[in-house]
């Protein structure tokens, strides 16, 4: 019986179609095949079944200047390979570099010449340093010519061009929602630094945002809430958990490091980050105040009668974490100014209310 050969399709054509405008406006149309490969790989990158979250900076010389010198001045670089722009080079680059692109190291892919050169560089020198991502995200900054690609949730990749334009690309079949993952992180960081003096706020915000992104990449889902700025003590409805006798002050350690830059203050800050990471990885809710201090963790909440009534009217799907998030949303404006949710599969939301 004669058979008809099947039509063979991949997602590649659709990906190219979806990314062409952004890549073209960023000046990297000639590299679109490699960028598409990188986006696809970064959406769920694994080696030996371990997930990695590398940041990849595709750069080229801009106005006769080295873009890496602009966005990562003085940063160590390790060139690994120079190769032709061939099919599959995106996957090859990640294979050679992704396992090392962690703890301040990122991947660079320099396409200034006909060939491409890739390797690793320090995109974050110290917790107090400006990061290369900060440069890219600042629309007013002249940050050379480049695109940053990084995973921001499962099956979701964020692209940031050097003129500050951003695109979040989900490799899922769901409809796009207005909830941007990176915006959710930013909203949380803004609320967690709202009481920091204005002169120090920008840096504190950038630091807290970076830290929360890193911590959430490794966790299996979490809820983080921020108390209203006029509330100093942990309200009784959050007493079912571990209340810290003294809040863990991340930003005090950050400012100490900024002040004296010694190994001792760096070590103190890293030690506090480790505590924070552990708290986020614990079950339950982590509660911060608006000065970036950790007030409590492993907090479990129960609705009161009124809240239970409202909860019943809502058609809530999902497990215990989703229900807790809906309950916390009801409390926004009372004791809380912000509640952030990250599910195990990377769904990320942040709600803010100040009344």
């Amino acid at each position: 019986m004669p058979t008809t050969a099947p039509i063979i399709e991949t997602i590649r054509k659709s990906l190219i179609g979806a990314l062409t405008d952004f890549v073209n406006e960023s000046g990297f149309l000639a590299q679109i095949n490699m960028i598409v490969e990188l986006v696809y790989e970064l959406a769920e990158y694994r080696e030996e079944d371990i997930r990695f979250f590398p940041s990849v900076y595709v750069v080229k010389r801009h106005d006769d200047s080295d873009t890496l010198a602009i966005i990562a001045p003085g940063a160590d670089r390790i060139g690994l390979k120079t190769t032709e722009m061939i099919e599959g080079c995106g996957a090859m680059i990640l294979k050679d570099t992704a396992a090392m692109a962690d703890s301040g190291w990122s991947i660079f892919v320099d396409v200034s010449d006909a060939t491409l050169r890739y390797g690793l560089f320090r995109s974050e020198m110290l917790p107090v340093s400006l990061s290369s991502a900060d440069h890219m995200a600042d629309p007013d900054a002249k940050s050379g010519s480049g695109i940053l690609l990084r995973n921001c949730a499962r099956n979701c990749v964020e692209l940031v061009s050097s003129d500050g334009k951003r695109l979040e690309f989900g490799l899922t079949a769901t409809k796009p929602t207005p909830n941007s993952v990176s915006e959710s992180f930013r909203k949380l960081a803004i609320e967690a630094t709202r009481s920091i003096p204005e002169t120090q706020r920008d840096q504190a915000l950038s630091y807290i945002q970076r830290l929360i992104v890193q911590v959430c990449q490794q966790c299996h889902g979490t809820i983080i809430a921020v108390l209203r700025s006029d509330i100093q003590e942990l309200p009784p409805e959050y007493h079912d958990g571990v209340r810290l006798e003294e809040p863990v002050d991340l930003l005090a350690a950050f400012h100490e490091l900024k002040g004296d830059g010694t190994a001792a203050t760096l070590s103190r800050l890293l030690a506090r980050e480790t505590l924070f990471r552990g708290m986020i990885q614990s079950d339950g809710i982590t509660i911060l105040n608006s000065s970036g201090q950790i007030m409590a963790f492993r907090v479990f909440v129960k609705p009161n009668e009124g809240e239970q009534g409202k909860m019943n009217q809502l058609n809530i799907r999902g497990g215990a974490r989703s229900r807790a998030f809906e309950l916390m949303k009801l409390r926004l404006g009372n004791s809380l100014s912000c509640v952030f949710f990250r599910s195990q599969d990377g769904n990320t939301m942040c709600e803010v209310k100040h009344d």
Partner: protein, 432 residues
């Protein structure tokens, strides 16, 4: 001098106190307003009793302490910037942090003393250092003429004028740089552009220092003035100074100083200067190691103390980051060329090893970009023995075969007599 609120003129060095050619030690000492009557009496008595080493050390210590104090009045952070010393900050003590040689160099750069007086002071420093070594003092004795020459030079340039200060024009310009934002058409910007190189370099140091340390309105002025002034002088700056701009960008970036980093990024973008941003912040490590060598070289007993710091320095390798290259070469050459009295034998193998490992491009960079403004080395080469060692070194490394743009430097590396070396050094010094 200040002509009006918005103009500056190039400042002239403070002139030394005039002393009669045949003035006696007593007459010279009596002109030392910076000393008490008791000190002057003690000096006179010491001369009468022929205690020349003792009196010279006493006078020298008083003079150099006074000079350091005045240099420090500009702010120690700034002093550190001018000297390329990242270890000096506003909390550093002037007496212990600034080397004697550095204090003299800086005073000369800032016009506190004339070039001639600076040379005389450096010679006095070497004389005092030489006789402070008990081995030398046991073999030879300082003679009266040497002691009088030290007293004369200390009184003429420092102790005779107790109010020796950086020129008021410089202090006012420095204040203006941190308290006002100059417009592109400001006369002061024009004047800076027309000034000699060391003034442009000094203004650049002031601006970079402020970008690292200032905050609030001061920082805004510094950022604005950097954006106005640096693009105007960029084409005239030598590469070591351009590397300093790139190094500062990397440092403020690493320290998370957003406004300063954004400001310098704009400046570097305007001049297409990102090629001068270093790929590493290891410059500080090299600069500190080189500084330790220089401190040992210019301190007492240098022939015994240079070996250890240069050995440690040599372990860092010769991949010297560009921003630290000038001070590193200065340190190596100081050891190799020695001084009027000789060389530190135990330190020679490390210095020679480092010089042998230099690549052609590194030699060419030093000879073309660093040596013409390296007063420490140029001063050294005006002495007979260091000049002879220079000739031997130039021959050993075939320096004359390198590509050298400047005719005077070319003549310097091709010289076969110490007088030719001296003449070309003086020519280079006068171009500063």
């Amino acid at each position: 001098m200040i002509e009006n609120q918005n103009t500056i003129a190039i400042w002239e060095p403070n002139q030394p106190v005039e002393l009669a050619v045949n003035a006696t030690s007593r007459e010279i000492a009596e002109r030392a307003q910076g000393l008490s009557a008791r000190d002057i009496h003690a000096i006179t008595v010491a001369f009468d009793s022929q205690s020349y080493e003792m009196v010279s050390t006493f006078v020298w210590t008083r003079a150099i302490t006074a000079l350091k104090k005045q240099v420090a009045s500009l702010g120690m952070e700034f002093v550190g910037q001018m000297l390329g010393r990242p270890d000096i900050d506003d909390d550093s003590d002037a007496a212990t942090s600034i080397g004697e040689h550095d204090a003299i160099l800086l005073a000369e750069e800032l016009g506190m003393i004339t070039t001639t007086e600076a040379l005389r002071l450096k010679h006095s420093m070497e004389l005092v250092g030489h006789f402070a070594d008990p081995d030398n003092a046991n073999q030879d004795q300082m003679n009266q003429e040497e002691a009088v020459s030290i007293l004369r030079s200390c009184v003429a340039s420092i102790l005779g004028n107790p109010h020796i200060k950086p020129p008021i024009q410089f202090a006012e310009l420095r204040d203006a740089l941190e308290s006002e934002s100059f417009s592109r058409s400001d006369d002061r910007v024009e004047k800076i552009c027309e000034s000699p190189y060391f003034i442009q370099r000094t203004v650049l140091s002031v601006l970079l220092s402020m970008l690292k340390t200032a905050a609030g309105a001061q920082l805004e002025h510094a950022v604005g003035n950097t954006n106005v002034i640096v693009p105007r002088i960029w084409d005239y700056l030598r590469k070591p100074e351009k590397w300093q701009v790139g190094q500062t960008y990397a440092e403020v970036h690493s320290a998370g100083k957003h406004s300063a980093a954004a400001g310098l990024k704009n400046t570097l973008a305007a001049v297409k200067g990102f090629d001068f941003v270093p790929e590493t912040l290891r410059s500080d490590t090299f600069a500190r190691a080189a500084q330790k060598v220089l401190e040992a070289h210019f301190a007492f007993n240098n022939f015994y103390t240079e070996a250890e710091p240069i050995r440690e320095f040599s372990t860092l390798g010769t991949t010297i980051p560009k921003p630290a290259f000038p001070i590193c070469m200065r340190a190596i050459l100081c050891v190799r060329l020695g001084n009027f009295y000789g060389i530190a034998n135990a330190a020679q193998s490390s210095a020679s090893e480092m010089l042998s490992a230099l690549r052609k491009e590194q030699w060419e960079y030093y000879l073309n970009e660093c040596l013409p403004s390296d007063k420490t080395i140029l001063d050294k080469l005006t002495n007979e023995d260091p000049a002879q060692r220079w000739i031997a070194m130039a021959s050993e490394f075939s320096l004359a075969e390198f590509r050298i743009a400047d005719r005077t430097v070319k003549a310097l590396v091709s010289a076969n007599s110490s007088s030719t070396v001296r003449n070309n050094c003086n020519r280079l010094r006068n171009i500063q």
